[in-house]
């Protein structure tokens, strides 16, 4: 029994790593711009489709196309921020929400028109391979996804803590006015942050392709999970998003094991509970006003 539970836990953690990767971009963007990017899931969807087509048309292995897809998504993020997000930053939160909601609708349905609703998968030589580590069976693609997620997260930490740009980003997240007074170019930081946030989703999309199929509404499924993770970890808190991802991965794995029928409902219940009981999440302090704690 212990072996079975350990198995469930490992599956949960591995997938949790990917959830973390998807969510970190979302939380970073919120931390800096106080904008919830409702189109975040659609960027994941685009990343997954990009990975799929690179594989389908050019035979590029997803782990190779990570670089291309990430760059592509980074540019997409810059473009989105410049054309859609920036004009509404000065507006009311309502307009910000609807700008990204509108984008989400456009992207989802454009994908539906262009690529139709079929589920597409990437099947490489190893995508279904399983490693035996002691008593545990570990899927190779899931393990790789987790390792990549972990590596990227560590790289991001290093970037935020040690580099000037990273520190500038943290400054803007903490206190925009102070950052402005210190000579930080807020516009540029907003732009770059959005780009980075989307690029992270690009990585996630590439490593997810061997594991999950892609279809136009796949973004909705993952973005809701990302929201739960981000709220659980604390909006704007990157560590929180990582740990939150792992926790949600575990919650999902265990509820899938014990109560499969209500698996989907479990994390929404978690979500609602967190929002109502401790809206700042486990680690969050940033954005506390937005969450109505005064």
């Amino acid at each position: 029994m212990a072996a079975v539970l350990a198995q469930v836990a490992v599956s949960g953690l591995l997938l949790g790593g990917v959830y973390a990767l998807i969510s970190i971009g979302l939380t970073l963007i919120f931390g800096v711009m106080r904008v919830v990017n409702f189109a975040h899931g659609e960027f994941l969807m685009i990343a997954m489709y990009a990975t799929f087509w690179l594989f389908q048309l050019y035979g590029l292995d997803p782990y190779v196309s990570i670089f291309i897809v990430t760059a592509l998504l980074f540019l997409a993020g810059l473009l989105t921020q410049a054309t859609i997000v920036r004009p509404v930053l000065r507006g009311s939160p309502a307009m910000q929400i609807f700008a990204t909601v509108g984008l989400s609708i456009v992207l989802q349905n454009a994908a539906l028109i262009v690529w139709k609703g079929d589920y597409r998968s990437v099947d490489t030589a190893y995508s279904r391979a399983v490693l035996s580590i002691g008593p545990l069976q570990v899927g190779v693609s899931r393990l790789t996804a987790f390792v990549v997620a972990l590596a990227i997260t560590i790289a991001l930490f290093y970037f935020l803590k040690k580099t000037y740009l990273g520190k500038a980003i943290r400054c803007v997240a903490q206190d925009k006015t102070a950052a402005l007074l210190m000579g930080v170019n807020i516009s540029r930081i907003n732009l770059i942050t959005f780009g980075i946030g989307t690029a992270l989703v690009g990585v996630a999309g590439a490593v997810l392709m061997p594991i999950y199929p892609v279809f136009p509404t796949v973004g909705t499924y993952f973005v809701l999970i990302a929201f739960v993770v981000v709220v659980l970890g604390g909006m704007g808190n990157v560590t929180g998003a990582f740990l939150g991802g792992l926790i949600i991965g575990l919650v999902e794995a265990f509820s899938g094991f014990y109560v499969p029928a209500l698996k989907e409902a479990i994390y929404f219940v978690v979500f609602i509970l967190v929002l109502l009981i401790r809206p700042t999440g486990l680690f969050g302090v940033v954005g506390a006003e937005e969450v109505g704690l005064k």
Binding site: P87, A94, G102, I105, V106, E264, G292
Partner: protein, 350 residues
């Protein structure tokens, strides 16, 4: 001395004249035109489009009460819509209860759920409130799918075709159109009442500045809750109408995030927080969608939503106030000149 008295009198008369709200004239005209259309046009497609327009005008007006007037962006209104649809349908299929009554029952349940959800959720600001509403609608959808014994899960429920007035099932579309018209008119009147009442003023104050509102004696949570309950009730009625009109409901359709977004989108395009915004929005958006869907067929399924989404983004960036307020702005500049002229003339006279 006399000139001044004339001036004051002129202003007082002006004030009296302005009291008959132009909105009522517009409403009367709208009723006449829509009713005429209903009775004259026989083409099923056009009647369907008209019904959909008025349906969305009503449903979006219901959303507008909490979303526009209340300033609380719910993207989970499908929850109330679904509750309305399922309640009246289940009562009708299982107990033969007239959907008119089932509609009210659904409304009552929606109000209770709204109170339970709304009260703790109002502590959350901005996107966090929106996220909670989305989550609630999803939970309800999941429940509807899993409670197979009651709801038949994803298979959905069909409303049996037993036409009669008390069954809220009609043979011809014109009758449905008249019901939809009635619903739309009721929502317009409700919105008009709210706008000029204490509820409307207090909601506007809360939207603008919650602290200042509190300092003036406004119990902000209570009024947001009132707006939510009214909104939930009427959205629920829309759900029943839909069930009776389309005669088939299933969880992914009635608890859909897309529907919640559409309600909000229509109000935003037309003008959030105004009486005519949702109506104008529905007249703009709905025909567009229906025609796109009808003419482009399967090949470009989803094009209507791409168009909606693009329009939404453009509106939000370029015209955040919406269509109606911008038109209202232009109209205001006209009559103002008349007033100035009248007072000036009064001044001139000895």
């Amino acid at each position: 001395m006399i000139a001044k008295e004339r001036e004051i009198l002129g202003e007082r008369l002006e004030g009296k004249r302005a009291r008959i709200d132009p909105s009522l004239y517009v409403l009367a005209a709208l009723i006449v035109v829509a009713a005429a259309f209903t009775l004259v046009v026989k083409d099923k497609f056009y009647l369907h489009v008209l019904i959909m327009i008025m349906f969305y005008a009503a449903a979006s007006s219901a959303w507008n009460i909490i979303g526009g007037f209340g300033g609380q962006l719910s993207l989970g209104h499908a929850a109330f819509y679904g509750i309305g649809a399922y309640t009246s349908t289940l009562l009708f299929i299982n107990f033969g209860i007239s959907p008119w009554i089932g509609m009210l029952a659904g409304g009552a349940i929606s109000v209770i759920i709204a109170a339970i959800i709304g009260y703790p959720s109002f502590r959350l600001r901005g996107p966090f409130f929106t996220l909670v509403t989305i989550a609630f609608a999803v939970v309800l959808r999941i429940l509807a799918v899993s409670a197979q014994d009651i709801t038949k899960g994803s298979i959905g429920l069909s409303v049996p075709f037993r036409p009669s007035p008390q069954n809220f099932i009609f043979r011809d579309l014109s009758t449905y159109a008249l019901v939809a018209l009635g619903f739309m008119v009721i929502m317009i009147l409700v919105s008009m009442w709210i706008e000029r009442s204490r509820v409307g003023y207090y909601l506007a104050a809360v939207r603008e500045d919650e602290d200042a509102a509190q300092a003036l004696g406004v119990n902000t949570t209570r009024y947001k809750l009132i707006a939510l309950l009214v909104s939930a009730f009427f959205t629920s009625l829309a759900g029943t109408f839909y069930a009776q009109y389309i005669a088939y409901i299933e969880p992914y359709g009635v608890f859909a995030l897309d529907f919640s977004v559409l309600l909000a989108m229509i109000a935003i395009i037309g003008g959030m927080g105004t009486v005519w915004g949702p109506v104008a929005g529905a007249f703009i958006v709905t025909p567009l969608g229906e025609f796109l869907r009808a003419n482009l067929g399967g090949g470009l399924q989803g094009l209507d939503l791409v168009v909606y989404g693009t329009v939404l983004i453009l509106m939000v960036i370029l015209l955040p106030g919406g269509v109606v307020p911008s038109i209202a702005e232009r109209l205001k500049r006209g009559p103002k000149r008349k007033t100035a002229g009248a007072t000036a003339a009064a001044k001139e006279a000895p």
